[in-house]
């Protein structure tokens, strides 16, 4: 009887312990699964957030370019033309020659200013004559500033691609060249453009310190310029790759394919 009781007690203790252990395991497993789900959810949220941020940035850039383009064309076509029309009328006025000269000078000044602002907002050479001529002119201006030695080459067919693509490529190139000038310690920069019906390939090589964005991810904030480049390239569904050159320098490749 006593033995029986002891046995029962032992069984109870064992069963109890087992129950406790199972319960504890259950809690552990549950919290583990819960934790994983939470993390997954968190990750998903972060991803969505990032995606959203990227989309937002893309939208901001797109809106900015659209608006800039509108203002630039309005300035050029409307304000510029009206001023020019006035200037032409003035020549037939019968007024004092001195007054006329003063008026003409002021008008010419205003026309110049309108043109400069319009051109800053939307480079007219790019808009009217296309990417190759636009970049050629950009390089010429940079060489005139006598900072680094810029070499430009273009080949392929004489084609025009959608204006937003041309503009994106131009802005990316501006940003890259600006970065090289500011940070790369380079002396010579080569820019080449290959144009074809099927797409655009641009390479920018320099002989500077060498730069790949992956090495700069640890920084608290990646530079706005790089983010800009990334957004613009996503906008036009293109690709950009950076690689270090030996013995020194960087090669950046921009590639865009026409999507039918």
């Amino acid at each position: 009887m006593d033995g029986q009781q002891t046995l029962d007690l032992g069984t109870v203790v064992i069963l109890g312990t087992m129950g406790m252990v199972i319960l504890a395991l259950g809690v552990v497993v549950f919290s583990f699964i819960y934790q994983r789900r939470m993390t997954a959810k968190q990750n998903e949220l972060t991803m969505l957030d990032l995606q959203h941020q990227k989309e937002l940035m893309g939208a901001v850039i797109q809106t900015k370019e659209l608006e800039q383009r509108r203002i630039a064309l309005e300035l050029h076509d409307d304000v510029g033309s009206t001023l020019t029309a006035i200037k032409f009328s003035v020549s037939s006025f019968t007024i004092d020659e001195k007054d006329k000269e003063l008026l003409n000078n002021n008008l010419a000044d205003a026309i110049q200013k309108v043109r400069r602002i319009s051109n800053d907002l939307l480079p007219s050479i790019l808009e009217e004559l296309g990417l190759v001529t636009g970049v050629k002119s950009l390089i010429k201006t940079l060489n005139d500033n006598k900072t680094l030695n810029y070499v430009f080459e273009s080949s392929g067919e004489h084609v025009r691609h959608p204006k937003d693509v041309e503009l994106a490529c131009y802005r990316i190139l501006q940003e890259l060249l600006n970065n090289i000038l500011k940070y790369a310690n380079a002396t010579e920069v080569h820019v080449t453009i290959v144009m074809s019906q099927s797409g655009i390939t641009i390479t920018v090589t320099d002989d500077g310190d060498g730069f790949v964005p992956e090495e700069h991810l640890d920084r608290e904030r990646p530079s706005l310029g790089l983010k800009n480049i990334e957004s613009r390239i996503q906008q036009i569904k293109g690709e950009i790759t950076y690689e270090k050159r030996l013995p020194k320098g960087t090669k950046v490749l921009i590639d865009w394919k026409r999507h039918e």
């Binding site: 050029h76 033309s81 043109r115 009217e128 002119s137």
Partner: protein, 218 residues
Amino acid sequence: MNEITVAIADDQSIFRQGLVNLVGGFNNIRVLFSAENGREMLEKIPENKPDLVLLDFRMPELNGLETAKLIRDQFSGVKVLILSMYDDQEFVETAMENGAHGYLSKDDEPEEIERAILSTIETGYYLNDRTSKMLIGKLINQGTMKPEFKTPPVEFTAMEIQILELICAECTTQEIADKLCKSKRTIESSRTLMMQKINARNVVGLVMYAVKKNLVQS
């Protein structure tokens, strides 16, 4: 001299009207019609063919550049002058390569339009000092433009060639005079003499001649 007939295309109506009045007021020049864009211009040319068209660069439907190309292909006798707000070298180059016979900036004085029309009809080209300077370098480097001179070969003196070289190097008359130790007047008169020798109307004609005949080293 026969009356010169002109057609005008510009999308800005105020400016177009001003231009029609201005050009119509020139001696011996008549405006046949005006158009809002290149497309309209091309439609109107066959019914009423002008000697020369004045085209704006930036126009809807068909811009000045495309219109110039099509006029060159379809109506070879019609001369094309571009009159634009754009005045960068790239625009001048592209226009001349695509069939324009001259390029004027809307910044230029209105009186220059008359000179440009007359010169284009008479010599086939018109460039002013600013636009010709833009083209000289390109001309020498590439020889893409081949102006025709109906004059027999002309002999230039050694000094004249020297002056020509300096003109092509964009020196001013004063600078040339200083370099050659001559007076400004001497330089001016030998330049005029050279222009007479080859029947050029302005310095551009002289430079084009020099380039075509390989008289100057680039």
